[in-house]
């Protein structure tokens, strides 16, 4: 696909997203907001999985904690301030990512997969088994956050159109930030780590620090998504930290095509539309989702992005190079 066709497609897509709430049905405006939130969430995980090569199965921890922070911070009878609550939620998610990250980033490969999942589940049990924030039933946010500037209220998150545009703004901002990040020296380092971490170390990069910072950035972005999700539905429960959500978002990243900017967008749209469709067919819709996932794993290793026509100067990330001295394969598979 030529760059021109691509730009036109992007612009048309963007225009559609911009005018959609003016013409679209209320239900779909909300549904699209939900999808856009998931693109932020998936984009944040893509930073880890697609670019740095760290497969996290516990990313919902940061999504959920941000939601819980908003819920606990919101007063029952008044609306929380948008800026303060957003800052608290995202900061809290980043802090949690720093804490968990400093432990799990010490490992790699399959250890990393297991450890991220285990820590996220720990958080799940913390909120599920204790009385903090309503236990297994969760907690309600009775009044959605609002933005107040000197008595003027430009944004009310209870208004679904306001909410849609806020989410659209944040998802575009997230994509632009990730794009900028990837072209920076930091971005070059994380991609280098994905391809050959041992060589990066030999070149003098303290890879632990870079992986940890990347983990924190991804956690903060996931926190942004979690904050928005909590404000959209006004309810937060332990499922928001659970491994089904971690699994789903990982599926979005892989389905869409890892290590590409459009991948998470594609993945979030396709998985959520598919699930929506399946749910209308049968109560056992996860059977169909599972079948699709299995088929993609077997036949579309590069995800749906692999189906798109290739653009000149292939921008998708190459596979991790195998072998090489001291590759992670040797670390991953000791003797029995």
């Amino acid at each position: 696909m030529s760059t021109r066709v691509r730009s036109i497609a992007l612009l048309v897509g963007l225009a559609l997203l911009l005018v959609f709430p003016l013409v679209g049905d209320r239900f779909y405006v909300q549904f699209f907001s939900k999808i856009l939130i998931m693109t932020i969430f998936a984009g944040s995980l893509n930073l880890l999985v697609g670019y740095t090569g760290l497969i996290s199965l516990g990313h919902a921890a940061f999504f959920g904690i941000a939601g819980y922070i908003l819920a606990l911070y919101s007063p029952d009878t008044a609306a929380a301030g948008l800026l303060t609550s957003l800052l608290l939620s995202v900061g809290g998610a980043a802090l949690l990512a720093l804490l968990i990250g400093s432990l799990v980033v010490r490992t790699g490969g399959i250890f990393f997969i297991m450890a991220t999942l285990a820590f996220a589940e720990m958080l799940f049990y913390l909120f599920h088994d204790t009385a903090i924030a309503g236990g297994s039933d969760g907690i309600y946010i009775y009044q959605r956050p609002t933005l107040m500037i000197a008595g003027w209220q430009p944004l009310d998150l209870a208004n679904i159109v306001h909410f849609y545009y806020l989410v659209l703004f944040f998802s575009l901002a997230a994509i632009v930030s990730i794009h900028t990040l990837l072209r920076s020296p930091f971005g070059k380092v994380i991609v280098g780590i994905r391809v050959n971490e041992q060589r990066m170390r030999a070149l003098g990069f303290h890879t632990y620090r870079y992986k940890l910072v990347c983990f924190v950035i991804a956690g903060a972005l996931a926190g942004l998504a979690g904050y928005l999700a909590a404000s959209q539905f006004g309810v937060v429960n332990p499922e928001m930290l659970g491994w089904h959500l971690s699994g789903s978002v990982l599926m979005m990243v892989i389905l869409g095509g890892m290590g590409t900017l459009v991948g998470p967008v594609l993945g979030a749209f396709s998985l959520m539309m598919l699930e929506e469709g399946f749910q209308s067919i049968t109560k056992h819709w996860q059977l169909l989702t599972g079948a699709v996932i299995v088929l993609v794993a077997l036949y579309l290793p590069r995800g749906f992005a692999g189906l798109l026509p290739k653009r000149t100067g292939n921008k998708t990330l190459p596979p991790r190079s195998k072998g090489g001295t001291g590759s992670s394969a040797a670390v991953d598979r000791p003797y029995v």
């Binding site: 020296p185 930091f186 380092v189 280098g192 050959n196 030999a202 070149l203 190459p318 090489g324």
Partner: protein
């Protein structure tokens, strides 16, 4: 005499009881090429891995310019001005030659925790990368992905990356292995030039290159030093001839 850049004392490494490097003491000065030779399995690569921080010594110490660096991690050793190349090409295969060397040069920024400005806009980094590429003679291939290059050219990338980190001590693990004759001559020439202002520890099987370059020659057998000294003196040592030639026939023109 010039400054001692690298010194090891009784350096050893075991792998589950197996001794790979056994009490090695050697040194390498500025402007010196110290070649280490020995049959396969003599522990030469393990020695390099111990010096570069890829492996931790079981016993003994390593000093860089008199400072004890034993057990430091490979990033820290690299940042002290030690560059190494690998016996088996160990690069970023999907990246271009330029990006491989640019990453190497970027490692000399005080930090890469820079998130906003484009990496390509750091002129000093790009210039250092281009210099290294020109030094090894790969200027024509700059924008090709390394996986598309010939084996010999990939070996040149390996050396260019090492140079792009601007090291004062070079640890070269069989840099000529797998190179064509023409490229070998070019790299030997390059090493001769580099020797004037670098300390070079060279592990190499190509004896013509070793005798063309080395000021000091060390022979390792079974992890330990068998003989070390002036190349011509070592060559004439009968023990070396028996141990080395007896086990491995490198052909009359090689040793």
């Amino acid at each position: 005499m010039s400054e001692v850049v690298l010194e090891t004392r009784d350096l050893s490494r075991n792998f589950e009881g197996l001794v790979a490097v056994d009490g090695v003491s050697l040194s390498c000065r500025m402007s010196e090429v110290h070649a280490v030779i020995g049959p396969n399995g003599a522990g030469k690569s393990t020695l390099i891995n111990l010096l570069s921080g890829d492996l931790r010594p079981s016993a003994g110490s390593v000093f860089l310019r008199g400072e004890d660096v034993t057990g430091l991690s490979s990033p820290r050793i690299s940042r002290l001005g030690v560059g190494r190349s690998y016996q088996r090409t160990n690069v970023f295969l999907p990246f271009t030659v330029f990006e491989n060397c640019r990453l190497a040069a970027q490692s000399r920024l005080d930090t890469s925790m820079r998130f906003f400005r484009q990496a390509l806009h750091y002129r000093a980094v790009s210039d250092a990368a281009m210099r290294a590429i020109e030094q090894v003679g790969l200027a024509q291939q700059t924008d090709k992905p390394v996986e598309a290059l010939s084996h010999g050219e990939q070996r040149q990338v390996e050396i260019a990356m090492t140079l792009a980190t601007n090291p004062s001590l070079l640890l070269l693990d069989e840099p000529l292995a797998g190179m064509g004759a023409e490229e070998s001559v070019q790299i030997v020439e390059l090493l001769r030039t580099l020797a004037s202002d670098h300390a070079i520890l060279l592990v190499e099987h190509d004896m013509d290159a070793v005798f063309a370059l080395a000021n000091t020659l060390t022979v390792m057998v079974n992890g330990a030093i068998l003989e070390s000294g002036e190349p011509q003196a070592v060559r004439s040592n009968r023990l070396v001839q028996v141990a080395y030639l007896g086990e491995h026939d490198f052909g009359s023109n090689r040793f």
